[in-house]
């Protein structure tokens, strides 16, 4: 079996050397060592279990290790309906995650409230925390969740190292009331 390694980032190549920018090297390493925090509240969580299991095997993407403590996680995977009472809890978990961090909203409920257009349900988690990737579906199949993870990996690969210090990012956090 031929093992396919990850592609090298753009860079300068010559006899016996390869040079690239630090942010690309760091991005490459980060994108293949995501530690997700599964925040599963309903059926999308079941799809996520299938994604983690043998057939789809999320571990292939470097995410073998799920973290149930936000301290060690850098990808928050919100899967399922988030009630308005759950909103502050979700926000607190997001705040307490390690830097830098990303968020993926899996399924219609996490992305937009889904079919629960009602007084008690948060109409999308982007009302309380910034979201990087939305995965549509009710619930999305494991392939769709994997596609979302690959999109997150692309984001991580191409993120400049100084993005989190930029005024744009700071104002984004400030708009959510996060220090």
């Amino acid at each position: 079996m031929k093992v396919k390694l990850t592609d090298a980032p753009e860079g300068l190549q010559g006899q016996g050397f390869f040079a690239t920018s630090l942010s690309k090297a760091v991005g490459l390493a980060r994108s293949h060592s995501i530690w997700p925090l599964p925040f599963a509240t309903s059926c999308c969580g079941i799809e996520f279990m299938a994604t983690m299991a043998a057939t789809y095997d999320l571990a292939r993407f470097g995410s073998e290790r799920l973290s149930f403590s936000p301290r060690q996680a850098d990808l928050l995977m919100v899967m399922g309906t988030i009630a308005k009472k759950m909103g502050p809890v979700l926000k607190q978990v997001y705040i307490q995650m390690a830097e830098p961090k990303w968020v993926i909203a899996v399924g219609a409920c996490a992305s937009s409230g889904g079919i629960f257009d009602t007084y008690s349900v948060l109409q999308g988690i982007d009302k309380v925390i910034p979201v990087d990737v939305y995965v549509p579906g009710c619930p999305p199949p494991p392939e769709a969740i994997l596609d979302g993870i690959i999109k997150i990996q692309e984001l991580i690969k191409n993120e400049p190292l100084r993005r989190r210090e930029s005024e744009e990012y700071k104002s984004l956090l400030a708009s959510y009331g996060i220090e």
Binding site: S69, V89, Q92, V93, I95, Q96, E99, R164, E179
Partner: protein
Amino acid sequence: MQQQVTDSLTIDYIAIFIQFIVAAGFVITTIAVTHWLGPKRKSAKKLQSFECGLDSIGNARLPFSVKYFLVAILFVLFDVEVIFFYPWAVNFHELGESGFVKMLVFVVPLLLGYFYIIKKGALKWE
């Protein structure tokens, strides 16, 4: 002559010393550098103790009744005693009389201890 022997000993072990220094140095350097280089954000909410996203209430280190400890430790003691009974029960016939005597030697001191704690009232909850 004596001097030569100690000299060569020191030289022999220098490689191991260097290995220890490299091993410890690598660990210390990695930990220090990751703390120094890693991005951080320190806000009051982030540094709060993690309680599954809920606000923590009160102190986790509250005093509680010593009776819990006493019952727990006695449970561990007699639990282990019962575990020893199992292999004895399985081999009861093979071990025969000598096995029975050996088990008595093990059980009788514990039984004396049991009577002692009953008499002391260690298991009285009220």
